[in-house]
Symmetry: D2
Subunit: 335 residues, 4 copies
Amino acid sequence: MSKVKVAINGYGTIGKRVADAVTMQDDMEIIGVAKTRPNYEAFVAHDKGYDVYTLADRVDAMTSAGIPAAGTVEDMISKADVVVDCTPGGVGEKNKALYEKAGVKAIWQGGEDHDLAGCSFNAEANYAEALGKDFVRVVSCNTTGLCRVIYPLDQEYGVKKVRVTLMRRAADPNDIKTGPINAIVPNPIKLPSHHGPDVKSVIPHINITSTAVKLPTTLMHLHTLNIELEKECTADDVKAIFAKQPRVRMVGQGITSTAEVMELGKDLGRPRGDMWENCVWEDSVTMYEGELYFFQAIHQESDVIPENVDAIRAMMELESDGAKSVAKTNKAMGL
Amino acid sequence: MSKVKVAINGYGTIGKRVADAVTMQDDMEIIGVAKTRPNYEAFVAHDKGYDVYTLADRVDAMTSAGIPAAGTVEDMISKADVVVDCTPGGVGEKNKALYEKAGVKAIWQGGEDHDLAGCSFNAEANYAEALGKDFVRVVSCNTTGLCRVIYPLDQEYGVKKVRVTLMRRAADPNDIKTGPINAIVPNPIKLPSHHGPDVKSVIPHINITSTAVKLPTTLMHLHTLNIELEKECTADDVKAIFAKQPRVRMVGQGITSTAEVMELGKDLGRPRGDMWENCVWEDSVTMYEGELYFFQAIHQESDVIPENVDAIRAMMELESDGAKSVAKTNKAMGL
Amino acid sequence: MSKVKVAINGYGTIGKRVADAVTMQDDMEIIGVAKTRPNYEAFVAHDKGYDVYTLADRVDAMTSAGIPAAGTVEDMISKADVVVDCTPGGVGEKNKALYEKAGVKAIWQGGEDHDLAGCSFNAEANYAEALGKDFVRVVSCNTTGLCRVIYPLDQEYGVKKVRVTLMRRAADPNDIKTGPINAIVPNPIKLPSHHGPDVKSVIPHINITSTAVKLPTTLMHLHTLNIELEKECTADDVKAIFAKQPRVRMVGQGITSTAEVMELGKDLGRPRGDMWENCVWEDSVTMYEGELYFFQAIHQESDVIPENVDAIRAMMELESDGAKSVAKTNKAMGL
Amino acid sequence: MSKVKVAINGYGTIGKRVADAVTMQDDMEIIGVAKTRPNYEAFVAHDKGYDVYTLADRVDAMTSAGIPAAGTVEDMISKADVVVDCTPGGVGEKNKALYEKAGVKAIWQGGEDHDLAGCSFNAEANYAEALGKDFVRVVSCNTTGLCRVIYPLDQEYGVKKVRVTLMRRAADPNDIKTGPINAIVPNPIKLPSHHGPDVKSVIPHINITSTAVKLPTTLMHLHTLNIELEKECTADDVKAIFAKQPRVRMVGQGITSTAEVMELGKDLGRPRGDMWENCVWEDSVTMYEGELYFFQAIHQESDVIPENVDAIRAMMELESDGAKSVAKTNKAMGL
Ligand SMILES: NC(=O)c1ccc[n+]([C@@H]2O[C@H](COP(=O)([O-])OP(=O)(O)OC[C@H]3O[C@@H](n4cnc5c(N)ncnc54)[C@H](O)[C@@H]3O)[C@@H](O)[C@H]2O)c1
Ligand SMILES: NC(=O)c1ccc[n+]([C@@H]2O[C@H](COP(=O)([O-])OP(=O)(O)OC[C@H]3O[C@@H](n4cnc5c(N)ncnc54)[C@H](O)[C@@H]3O)[C@@H](O)[C@H]2O)c1
Ligand SMILES: NC(=O)c1ccc[n+]([C@@H]2O[C@H](COP(=O)([O-])OP(=O)(O)OC[C@H]3O[C@@H](n4cnc5c(N)ncnc54)[C@H](O)[C@@H]3O)[C@@H](O)[C@H]2O)c1
Ligand SMILES: NC(=O)c1ccc[n+]([C@@H]2O[C@H](COP(=O)([O-])OP(=O)(O)OC[C@H]3O[C@@H](n4cnc5c(N)ncnc54)[C@H](O)[C@@H]3O)[C@@H](O)[C@H]2O)c1
């Protein structure tokens, strides 16, 4: 059986990771990546053997900078079965016409609105919904992290209400333009924030409110969760459920911060030191006055990566069972 | 009437501010400050005209460094009506015997336990409790900030339950030893944290749970509050209550972070740019699904300062009405 | 004698400080400040009693936001003897025509090029050059800091060559947009940088090369200086010269970082905690292998403020002797 | 031929990297690593298959925490040909008696003094000196970075004088205890600093002075170099020399900060995203007024790693030619 042909439009933080994760699978392959500027990331893509495409008016610039452009974005799309759009938030929307014209399936990321794709995706929560779909949005890093813990709890005990405080890294590690350097930024100031409710785009009936801030750190987001459940259960019950989740990792063993979680990612030999799973502090999982509390750290650069692989598999109907796709993806990535 | 004689034991972040605030009042005065090391802070204290005392074995070191020591800590205590102990958390406890022996009243700060003084104090919430007391603990910056908003809401509408996430600056601006530089540190990891419940040392019947983190910022703490009230009310009702509080400031007008709150403190001409009040974002005050949400920024270095002045006044029975003391303190400080 | 009428065009980090410093003098006064947005800074300006002007198309917005606009920027200029332009770097240039048309003298800041004014100013180094001039540029915070130590050394011992590494705070304390959060940014990468040579716009014959970086800190710049002198001298000779400079402060006494220098500014009761002087670490001043080395910290937000006052005095010929103007400014500001 | 048996005493930032680098070689192997606490790093070491040893009084604690201790540090040493001591600076010194007693060769890191080993090592500069030696010190990350550029320049053009400003990351990425969070710390304040002269422990005749600061960043050090050479040459000559160095990488291609250098390390698929080479900004290499200037970034966590491998090879006389060892090490590591 021939592999599904995947194109990456926008080879940045998310795009380069999706490219590498797809390459690790046996049922799909990268046929090209599109990059706007001939910077070091483009050189590395080329050196890795990816065909590098670019915007029509930049083909010459790319080639003359030393990266022989394989063609235009349109050329790349025409060869693909599915395009993973990893352009910056808001840009992806403008590419929809392109994908429709080429009759190619497309995945967008969390920077786009639900309505663009009509189907918001998290492999653990609603894989089946994406089966055969032409357009899918893999939800944001924060929403992905929330779905992975809320969905199984809801299945088992029923989720009555979620209150979450999202402490967001203000910039990715390689972004030197964005601040703050020394401040806490409540964002948005109007409450509740839109972040939590984005979970409803995947699991509509969840009652969730969120507050969010931006912080002078680059490594990970941290979530403080407070959950009221329908049925009674203990902290140990919750830990047992989390322990069974394929993309939740319980942390402890002297790990006391997002910095040490990232160190663990490096120690484990993960590519780029990525931490694809939610990292829940085992000692934080507490049932207090009948409500569940816990902390989890979310690696914004990578938690959505395996989800993109699963989304491709669902859309191309390579696998009809979500749990099997998740297991296959995880195994291929070494998770 | 002669002024109440106040000594400051421990002239650091809190101590130097209490000294200056006491000096601004007409019913109390500083008779000396105790400092362990002859650093720039000691020189400035001396230049300002404060008598500088030190530990018995450091008198010579202080004097030979260029700051003529006025005597030992014991000498200082013997001249005072009340000592404000602003030594580092945990050190203050060891000084209790000293104060008892000298028969002097003493105030400790939030770094000490409630039991040390037996009376935990917040001027707005329980001024009367401290009247005539020998020992009082002015609660921590975070607890002070919480009491100021919880108490009046409780008075007016009854507080059923408070859930708060405390995002703490990891180090004061002049502390260059303490990290993290680039991480979020859930602290404590075991939930709920002890911070919120410290409110009960002032207002015992409040039902409150808290989670806390330490962040790579030096400026202020930020609190995310979720409050369930007994009686129904609107966001506007809550804003109206906050607007009446003498030590709560509503912020807006383009202020979007703790950095801009601190800039406002400087713009207002406050000594050291201090922001003595809770700063509540007006636009954040929201009633959602019957629960109250808002953000407030707390200037850890200074919010407890006017409280210390009021505590002195209560303990010395200079004023029996808390509201009058608060008004007098605020007016003298220019708040 | 009536006071010189000063207008501030651009009421931000520099503008608000110049306004307050001018107000402290007995020979000049603020007749208005211009601000583009009705944010908290504008409210404070209004509350302080400054007449707030704005761009012609924003007069209504300002007024309806609650700050009665006193008129347009043009209105303000027409009433002034001298305008201090403190708009963002590059914007000031566009205002030149406005000032010429109104026949008003103008001062620009270091964000503009030397050629715009034709006269680059540092009170200690070339006050006389600005006497009676219509247009003057007060050089940048870094150049001001360099002139203050290079000029007197050159006068006394002759400066053969200066090599300086400028470690720049990447953003001002109230700027939450600008990064980096966790990186060192060599900037510019091409060497030597343009920063050092800007000293020549004030003292043309100085031989200076510089390298510069941007850092994840908001407080101060730090300069590492290496200077070859014509005549022999000792570290003590250099310290003696620095000690005599009206805007150089020798620091020690446990001050080990820019954070503690800023704490000192607050302890001294300076408005906004500003540190108008260069802060040279006394212990760092060293003569090694015939070359001078030392560290100095420069408070980017405030070191140019007294220079602006002196520039007004020179341009208006209120005082012909630079040293006398410096002394007068310093005294009025409490430096 | 049997492989050289290497033990790692102190499995932290440096130790774990040396362990992995040794494992990649075909002429040496890890026979055990010693770790004091059973934290996540110890678990990963165990999972990777390393025998984990510990202090005599912690064997039980290690085992009961879930990591079956292979024995005591002494047990480990007795099985080794060479111990790489990667304990914290100052601790290594105390281990010398242990190594002497066991008659085992030992390597220390840059945190120890030159005199402890008597031989300070950098593979490119003085490999031959370490041949057959019992004790060797691999110099610090900064000194290693300096030797790699100074030595070849000295060989080719003669180095007359080096002036360097070392901008040091204040803490490693996984260290959340150490600050500063928002300050520049000149350190040491007395000039010149001891850092530069440490180069003389490897290349004694080099004339070098240095100044150093600590910065609120965790990623890399940055060096600003100013070098006077004996013979005339151009910037292109220097670039050509650097391009030939096996552990110097020229960077450009949109890389403008230490953050992007670290991103490149991840993009290249390096273990832990490490950047073992000096990264010299090609565009910064400049000859100005007869003096050389350039910027280089040094990855403190990893630049000494290949040097440790070479030191083992020299001490065990596995290879007498330094260049060949460097090439062999680099190839095995994928550098
Ligand atoms: N970075 C994160 O933490 C994160 C996490 C989850 C989801 N996302 C979402 O993923 C998407 C991508 O974000 P990112 O962080 O990878 O952005 P990024 O800025 O790192 O990468 C975007 C890439 O797209 C390229 N690009 C820009 N315009 C383009 C165009 N018109 N055509 C093709 N390529 C173009 C850029 O050159 C860049 O390489 C966004 O929707 C974002 O919201 C980001
Ligand atoms: N800094 C804050 O944000 C903050 C806020 C609210 C409450 N507090 C509490 O206030 C207290 C003081 O904290 P701080 O931040 O001002 O500490 P600090 O470290 O800034 O100052 C403590 C001072 O005490 C001196 N000192 C130390 N040992 C002493 C001794 N044995 N006798 C006399 N003086 C001694 C030190 O030299 C220093 O000047 C603590 O209980 C702390 O928890 C601090
Ligand atoms: N901030 C520093 O560290 C520093 C130090 C020395 C010199 N400077 C120089 O001083 C100048 C001002 O810098 P700043 O840091 O105060 O900037 P800022 O951004 O803090 O303030 C600029 C102000 O100008 C206003 N403004 C913008 N456009 C305007 C216009 N067209 N007309 C009138 N007002 C306008 C803005 O609203 C703002 O209030 C620049 O040339 C800068 O290079 C800055
Ligand atoms: N981290 C760097 O940037 C860097 C760079 C170059 C050189 N060095 C040098 O390398 C050495 C190690 O530094 P590091 O950063 O890896 O330190 P580290 O703190 O990361 O690791 C030290 C390890 O030694 C262990 N340890 C402590 N005491 C011990 C003992 N008595 N016996 C056995 N193990 C013990 C600790 O548990 C820890 O695992 C120091 O000399 C340091 O100066 C560090």
